[in-house]
Each structure stands twice: as structure tokens, then as C-alpha cells.
Symmetry: C2
């Protein structure tokens, strides 16, 4: 998650040249450069596009910006019937800078590791579109949801169709897997999550390309705070579920990770704050995450349960880069031991 | 949850007289007045002491204050070995103002409804003690937890013993039930929750008085974001578990609410943001929460599953008081219909 970023001095240097976050994300050369920076330092198994989850509402005309040291902010918020009526699926040409970055990064990677594209989920986009920024209580977006569910459904349908077009264009441009970040699904009440988040993630998935140039394109879905809804999420038409650090991996594997038509690979789930401990402590926590999922099935004729090691959410800007090095080393050495049957 | 507060104009008037939040909480007359204000407006079934979850660290000498429009802040944070070494269970005389308020409120209530006392959980107190204020990422407290688990365990043991003394003194002063708010348990990784939050909530419960003056004192535990851990929380020695709005009540009832030695009554779990919808919409959401738990057992010789209707967390300061009136009316009328077998 968020491999590039403010914890890397070389990222800060490139961002300073670019002048702003969006200046970085919209410039093909800079976006390529910062996407590849973590791979120069660490032996990672995949790269993730450097961009933001909120490029779609920006292309809808809402005016995305990032003040230094703050989160995202929109110049225009969507808070009433008239504002919702003005929304439409944006012209994908306005997002050309993202697709150009994908193509440029694929070329620069030159087959070294696969490239993951991504977007925010329809619900997560709606949160920012209504609130206009991050929120502690999601009061404005939930007021619309409970008071005017018709408007909320209209906005989510537009968002879902836009996300699907956007991810398909990333696939056309060269993304070899795509991930949907439902960063704020976990703030919803149980029934509301199913109606306003999960249903629209499913609407995106139903429209996604399954393959490109004869190669399968895996689809990953991450709902932060979604650990209680794994049984519902198992029904999603995707290959991988991302899990935050609150989830017990053994339980998740038993619920959704074993063989069967809807079985999912599981991605996660180390608490990024572990990276403030010592290398030996990081190693112990990595081992505990891997052991908690358990060994893969040994019958190699079966497509058995799979874990993709990852952080449970974004990395902190204060993380020492040496901690990431210790983390990647520990994942490789401990999983090698597990595969050899040593644990 | 938080029946009194900034959504009530009469509360704002009393707070203005008191000068500050702590001025309000430490004055017996004011604390009594604001505790009773919601009962003058709404036919509620219980009262909850007006106070703060952070009075204990304040009594430890950390200096609690509330700037207008902001959350709590400590003058001194606990971030290293020397600061932890200085911590001790505070002299309960420093919290006399709380016990005096309890006695005064009991007298003013005069048997009308029972009075609930409360405290923050050991882990939630530790979060604020280390961070010094609220936090987005709990980086400082988790850094201590992962880097120096020995210090964290030491602080939590002191907190737990202080919370137990504090709640027992509230019981002596007249509290007829006590609630432990584990507001930040849900930010922990699965294994860390069990080791650093749940274990210390259990340490508090083990020390609490079971009865006072021959009357049983029910104990309630609420972990925000704890829905994934209900099976572990079922083992707690308490009568009630509070649930936030993300929890499916039917599933929770099946897991922990049915008869048996460890069965719990369940408290919750309406999203407080529902109170920004219309009265008819509030009524529909209330019915849906009550129906989701389902009817109580009809065999009255059994101590069957019990639901205590509540919000899933604190009420927003922007809530229209009329919405609370609609809510309380809907709870009473719909649960009467359910008990009569009409649903």
C-alpha cells in the first residue's frame, strides 16, 4: 500500500521539483519516477501506480487539491439535488495523464514486476465529494444517505460507471491487476454498507475487463473496517480481498480463503505502526502475520489458499525506510521457511 | 450515549455559566443539572452521569483541558520510561467531585430512573495519555506498544487498577450500573486487541463490586469497532456488551446474546447520523434496528436475550433535539408492538 511517498527522501525531492501533489501525479515522467523509487530500494514483488484515489471526482470538475501536510480537498462539494443533477461520468480524456503514466511505468518496469492500477470505490468517492474533504464523523454524507437515499443512489451509480470505465482504461494502458480502495466502507452501519458500498463495488466489478491481450487481470477489493462483512464480500466477483490489521487471518482464511468457487486470495494485514519498532520486533510481527494465515496447501494440483503479504493500510510518512527493508527481508525469509515446511 | 451535551440549548447555557467543560464536570450542582436536562425533555429509561472518560489521567496529574470546539488535551503526555515510572493509581480523593455528583444526581432522580456511572477503559486512557490528545493514526501509542510492550503493560496495569477503584467508588456513591468505554479498542490489530485492551478490561471487571446494599450492579462494556471480537468478548465477566452501528444485531444475538452461562444483553446500535433524517425516516431506522435484534423470547420463565436500545456511539452536537424526541417515541411504540406480538 502506498509504496511511494513522504517516508522516502527521494520522493520528497521529486515532489519539490513538481511543486504540488497533483503536479506530480499529472506529469508522466514524475509519476513514473516515484512509482519506481521503492523498487530501487526494496525487492518488492509488484509495483502500484502512483496516483490518488480521487482523480475521478477531480475529472468531474470538483477541483482536487492537496495543501502541504493536509489531506485532499475539493473546491466544490456535492450537497444538494442540483449538484447531484450536474454530475456525470467524466470524459476519460481528462484522465489521460493517468493512462499515460500507466503505459510509461509498464515500459520502465520492462517485465521486472507486475503493475497494479487502482481507484477509490464509488462510496469512498461519494464521501469526499459530499464532505469536500476528510471527516471525523461523515455527518454530511450520511445526512444525504439517510435523508435523500435517492440522491445518494444516483451519485453512486454515476461513480460506479466512472470507476469501471477508468479501471478498464488503466487495463488497456497496461495495468496487470486493478484494486478498488473502499477506504470508508467501514464507517457505515451494517445495512447501509451492503446497500450503499458493497452493491456499487459489485456494479464496478461487473463491468471490468477479465483479461487483456489474452492475459487474466486479477481484481482486488479492500474495505477498511470490513472485517465483519467477509461473508458478504466473498460473493464479490473478484480474485483478492484486502484486509486491515483488525482481521484475524486464520478466521478470514476459514471464512473466505479456502478452495471453492468463490474462494479469495487474501491480502494484508500488518499494522503499519509496527514499522516504528526495531528490526527484530518487525521480523517477529511479520512472522506472526504469516503464521496466522498459515501455510499454503501442499497439494499443488489444487489452487489452494493464497496470502499476498501487505500492510493493512497506508504507510506513515514518518516511517524509517530501514524498517521497510527489514519488513521485506522478513517476509521473504519467513515465507521461504514456511514453504520449505520449516514452520 | 452522551445524553447531555452541546445539542441541547439548556446545556450550552449551563456550560456558559460554568466557564469550561471541567468547570461543569467538577461542580456538583452543574453536573447534576446537566445530567437531568435530557430527562426533562425525553421519557428516557436511564440516566448517565455527566462527566468525561479521562478524569483518571487528570487525577494522575496530566492536566486535562477542553478548548472550545476541540477534543480533550493533556498538558503532560506519557511517552518514555521515566514518565511511565512516575505513574501511579491516583488518590481517589482527587476524584471526589465525581462521587459527589453521583450522590447528588441519585438524590435528584429520586428513584425515577436508574443512574449509570462510567469510565474509559485502560487502553483508551493509555491512548490519550501517550498521544496527549485525539489522534488519526495512534502512531505514538502504538510505537510504545510495539517497541516497549513492557512499558505499555505497566501503564495498563496501573490504569486498570485505577479504573476499578474509581468505578467501585461510583458504586459506593450510588451508581446503579457501571459502563466501561473502550472507545479506541477498535484501532488495534487483532492480537494486540486481545493482549492490550481486552485483558485489561477483564482485569477491571475482576475487581468490581457485584452488588451494593444487596442490589446487583450490572456491568456494561463497549468497544467501538469491536464487532469482530464478540466471541472473545463473550468471555468477559459482565452483563451487557455495547455495539456500534457496524454490527449486525441478529448475528451478534446468535453469537453472544442467547441463553447460557456467558450470554450477554446487547446495547445499541443506531448510527447517530440517522438523527439528521426526518421523523418518519428515524422511525423506520429504529424499527429496523429493533427488528434486526428480533423479539425477546416469549418464555418468561427464561432469562432470555435482551436488547437495550441505544445509539451506536456519541450523539452529534448538531443533532436537532426534535430528532431525539422522534427517536425515543419510536423506540417505545415499536417495542410495545413487538412485545404484543404485532411484528
Amino acid at each position: 500500500m502506498r509504496q511511494a511517498g513522504r517516508y522516502l527522501p527521494e520522493y520528497k525531492a521529486t515532489r519539490a521539483k513538481a511543486g504540488s501533489f497533483m503536479g506530480l501525479a499529472t506529469n508522466t515522467d514524475y509519476a513514473t519516477e516515484v512509482t519506481l523509487q521503492p523498487l530501487e530500494r526494496f525487492p518488492l514483488d509488484a509495483a502500484i501506480l502512483f496516483s490518488d484515489i480521487l482523480t475521478i471526482p477531480d475529472a468531474m470538475g470538483l477541483g482536487l487539491s492537496f495543501a502541504l501536510g493536509e489531506g485532499p480537498r475539493f473546491a466544490t462539494a456535492v450537497r444538494d439535488e442540483a449538484a447531484v443533477a450536474r454530475l456525470e461520468v467524466p470524459d476519460m480524456n481528462k484522465l489521460r495523464y493517468v493512462f499515460d503514466a500507466v503505459t510509461s511505468i509498464r515500459k520502465a518496469l520492462n517485465g521486472r514486476v507486475p503493475l497494479i492500477g487502482f481507484s477509490g470505490s464509488p462510496w469512498t468517492l461519494a464521501c469526499y465529494m459530499v464532505e469536500g474533504a476528510g471527516s471525523d464523523d461523515y455527518r454530511l454524507v450520511k445526512t444525504m444517505l439517510y435523508q435523500r437515499p435517492d440522491l445518494m443512489h444516483k451519485m453512486l451509480a454515476i461513480n460506479a460507471d466512472a470507476v469501471a470505465l477508468y479501471l478498464n482504461a488503466q487495463i488497456e494502458a497496461g495495468a496487470q491487476a486493478v484494486m478498488i480502495f473502499d477506504s470508508w466502507g467501514g464507517v457505515l452501519a451494517d445495512a447501509a454498507f451492503h446497500e450503499f458500498s458493497l452493491a456499487y463495488t459489485a456494479r464496478v466489478l461487473a463491468q471490468l475487463k477479465r483479461e487483456h491481450g489474452g492475459v487474466k487481470i486479477p481484481r482486488l477489493v479492500f474495505t477498511k473496517g470490513g472485517g465483519q462483512w467477509l461473508t458478504s464480500m466473498k460473493q464479490l466477483d473478484c480474485e483478492v480481498l484486502g484486509l486491515d490489521w483488525t482481521v484475524n487471518l486464520a478466521r478470514a482464511r476459514a471464512l473466505v480463503g479456502e478452495n471453492g468457487p468463490n474462494a479469495k486470495a487474501l491480502q494484508g494485514n500488518l499494522d503499519p505502526n509496527v514499522l516504528f519498532a526495531s528490526p527484530a520486533q518487525i521480523e517477529a510481527q511479520v512472522a506472526s502475520v504469516l503464521d496466522s494465515f498459515g501455510a499454503p496447501h501442499l497439494d499443488v494440483t489444487q489452487s489452494g489458499p493464497t496470502q499476498i503479504f501487505n500492510l493493512g493500510h497506508g504507510i506513515s510518512q514518518f516511517t524509517p525506510p530501514e524498517s521497510v527493508e527489514a519488513l521485506v527481508g522478513a517476509v521473504h525469509s519467513h515465507s521461504r521457511r514456511m514453504r520449505a515446511g520449516g514452520c
